[in-house]
């Protein structure tokens, strides 16, 4: 089966803020491959500077890459313009962290949701009014909510509106960038349940960007771990969480606070700071902090390599960008 989304060799750099004439550049993505199946959720985790949000923006067509390709359902979307771009945007919709930032505060909820229908010319005007009520119902809001303004809603309700607006155009893919990070844990659970139900009922795929590994573990079919513009490990959810291989993935999992009585922090999983993406380390981006580094790590940039022996579930090959931890090839 072909992938719904296929990202290859994506490179993005920006001029560094405040660097003036020195023209330093932020290396946001340094050659990233990723694929996502129809109806699946691909979790993208990483810390500050990992490039996960830049990758999300490239998929949404909000950021033009310096190099590489983004193929959505067989169509190259890098460089698309005009009506071709609008057609693709109808099928790839965003959900952001802060719905207050993406909803117009002067508009009622109903108008915000209808805006997506209007923009993509979905149905007749009368159909659209009915469709707004249906969408609100789909995300667990009542028809009354259509007449309220964003400030009159709780954070969880606002995120439901954000999801309803994303669903309005009938997308195949929702790119969700930290969609539950601003929510309290009890509300977060409701939104995660809602997204899972929508996926079951509508077959929509998610590219789910989050810094929270527990959330990613809960929602994803496949997971990619990013560090300073590179994917260091990618695998089926179960394989990745049961058997992380890359030293960074292992440290990241060790650092996650788990609410269990035996989860005491006995040692620091990873020392040192995350280097700046303006002047990233040579070779493997992770080598200055890596407990397993050898001399060659500072010179050679490791490629994502499939590890057959690690692949237990058989869907996505478990791939790791670290020659040190890989078993020697015969």
């Amino acid at each position: 089966m072909t992938a719904l989304l296929d990202v290859r060799g994506l490179v993005v750099t920006f001029p560094a803020p405040g660097s003036g004439l020195r023209r330093k550049r932020v290396h946001a993505l340094s050659g990233v491959d990723l694929s996502l199946r129809r109806g699946h959720t691909h979790g993208l985790v990483g810390e500050s500077g990992s490039g996960k949000s830049t990758l999300a923006r490239c998929v949404l067509g909000l950021q033009r890459p310096d190099d590489g390709s983004v193929v959505f359902d067989g169509t190259e979307i890098v460089g698309l313009r005009g009506s071709a771009l609008r057609d693709i945007r109808r099928r790839i919709q965003p959900v952001f962290q802060d719905p207050l930032g993406s909803l117009d505060p002067r508009w009622t909820v109903g108008r915000s949701v209808r805006e997506s229908l209007d923009a993509f010319g979905v149905g007749s005007p009368l159909d659209r009014e009915r469709r707004v009520r249906e969408l609100l119902d789909l995300v667990g809001l009542s028809p009354d909510h259509a007449d309220r303004h964003p400030v009159q809603l709780s954070g969880g309700q606002r995120q439901r509106v954000g999801i309803a607006a994303a669903l309005a155009s009938g997308p195949d893919l929702i790119v969700a960038d930290e969609p539950v990070s601003a929510l309290d844990v009890s509300v977060q659970a409701q939104i995660l349940n809602l997204m899972a139900r929508l996926q079951r009922d509508l077959g929509v795929a998610f590219l789910f960007v989050s810094h929270d590994l527990s959330v990613v573990e809960h929602v994803s079919n496949e997971v990619s771990v990013m560090y300073l513009g590179k994917i260091v490990e990618t695998a089926d959810r179960a394989d990745l969480f049961a058997g992380p291989v890359h030293p960074y993935t292992r440290a990241l999992l060790d650092a996650v606070p788990v609410p269990e009585p035996d989860a005491r922090l006995v040692h620091v999983p990873l020392s040192g700071d995350i280097p700046s993406p303006i002047d990233p380390p040579s070779g493997c981006r992770f080598h200055p902090r890596c407990p397993r580094r050898v001399d060659s790590c500072s010179r050679e940039l490791p490629a994502l390599t499939p590890v057959e022996a690690l692949n237990s579930t058989g869907h996505t090959p478990h791939r790791v960008a670290c020659p040190v931890v890989l078993p020697a090839r015969p």
């Binding site: 500050s48 573990e217 929602v219 609410p259 989860a263 922090l265 700071d273």
Partner: protein, 326 residues
């Protein structure tokens, strides 16, 4: 060391009404102990921190007792409180950039924190500041002393804030979401540092957080707040292994980390009560899966087997907590 006894905080809002942000909290923090104060947005955990620090919104009403090393902080004048803050109690908040002056060298800010409370010379203060920066893990502290805050990463800035907070060996540190703005590997470093410093210095820490995982990692005891009240407190081991209050249980259950498989997460239905007019009985009753007729009356506070306490009618067979002599 820090004894909070039946503290209530009312904050004025528009229309001549009051929000009862903290509704009768009793809690203590001992020497070298880290107590996690957890709850969701608006539960009053930061307001309680503000009550201890003497930093409540103007016009607020505070009742009950806040005892620090046996001294009631409630009657202090603004000037007396200023002497206590930064000396006997110190604050570390979520955003280290807001705590540091962007135009001054970080070392000078730590030295100033010392000289504000102690009559020592500049050179001695500088030496002590360098020592503190080293203790919190700033590499090459002598050279970094003169750097302004923007030369430091978020994690390193938070280390500097902790150094300044600990400059005068306070009895108690109030840490309000100290790692919430940090990446998870950096958070682990800062939590480890806090743990290490409390063991070495004997400073007690009230760690205010929304993250139960953080509590499990470093706290000795936990107090769970809901709608202005502590519904359950005890050792981290007891409370996480066997939560007695339905809210604590629901909060733990709704964590994705507790569910390694897919499937719906348990949720807490309904809304937090309006604290301008809090319900007379148990404040969680309207959302509680185990609600009962008796819940319309205020629940008894009982002592658990592990020496903790819980405020819930489900456990009224346990012995009531004796009123502490104040």
């Amino acid at each position: 060391m820090l004894q909070i006894d039946d503290v209530r905080v009312r904050i004025p809002v528009t229309g001549g009404r009051w929000v009862e942000a903290v509704g009768g909290v009793t809690l203590s923090v001992g020497s070298g102990e880290i107590v996690g104060l957890v709850g969701e947005s608006g539960c009053g955990k930061s307001t309680l921190g503000g009550a201890v620090m003497g930093l409540l919104p103007s016009g607020s009403q505070l009742s009950g007792q806040v005892l620090l090393d046996g001294r009631d902080l409630r009657g202090l004048t603004a000037e007396e409180y200023r002497r206590v803050r930064g000396n006997d109690i110190a604050l570390v908040s979520q955003d280290p950039s807001a705590s540091l002056d962007p135009t001054f060298a970080v070392g000078a800010q730590v030295a100033e924190a010392i000289r504000n409370h102690r009559d020592i010379g500049r050179r001695e203060a500088r030496e002590r500041a360098v020592e503190l920066l080293r203790a919190v893990g700033i590499p090459d502290p002598g050279a970094r002393y003169s750097d302004p805050p923007h030369r430091f990463s978020g994690g390193m800035k938070q280390r500097v804030v902790i150094a300044a907070a600990l400059a005068n060996d306070p009895s108690v540190l109030i840490a309000d979401e100290p790692t919430t703005a940090l990446d998870v590997t950096i958070q682990a470093q800062i939590l480890h540092l806090l743990r290490d410093l409390t063991v070495r210095t004997g400073t007690g820490v009230l760690l205010i957080t929304h993250d139960l995982g953080v509590v499990a990692q470093v706290c000795d005891r936990i107090a769970v707040m809901y709608a202005g009240q502590v519904v359950e407190q005890g050792t981290v081991r007891d409370v996480f292994a066997d939560p007695l209050h339905p809210y604590t249980r629901a909060l733990l259950d709704s964590q994705p980390a507790a569910h390694h498989q897919s499937g719906d997460l348990p949720v807490i239905l309904g809304q937090v009560p309006d604290l301008t007019d809090p319900p007379a009985g148990c404040r969680f009753a309207a959302r509680c899966a185990r609600v009962h007729d008796r819940c319309t009356a205020a629940p008894p506070v009982v002592e658990t087997r592990g020496g903790g306490r819980v405020a819930c009618w489900l456990h009224d067979a346990l012995p009531p907590v004796a009123q502490e002599a104040s």
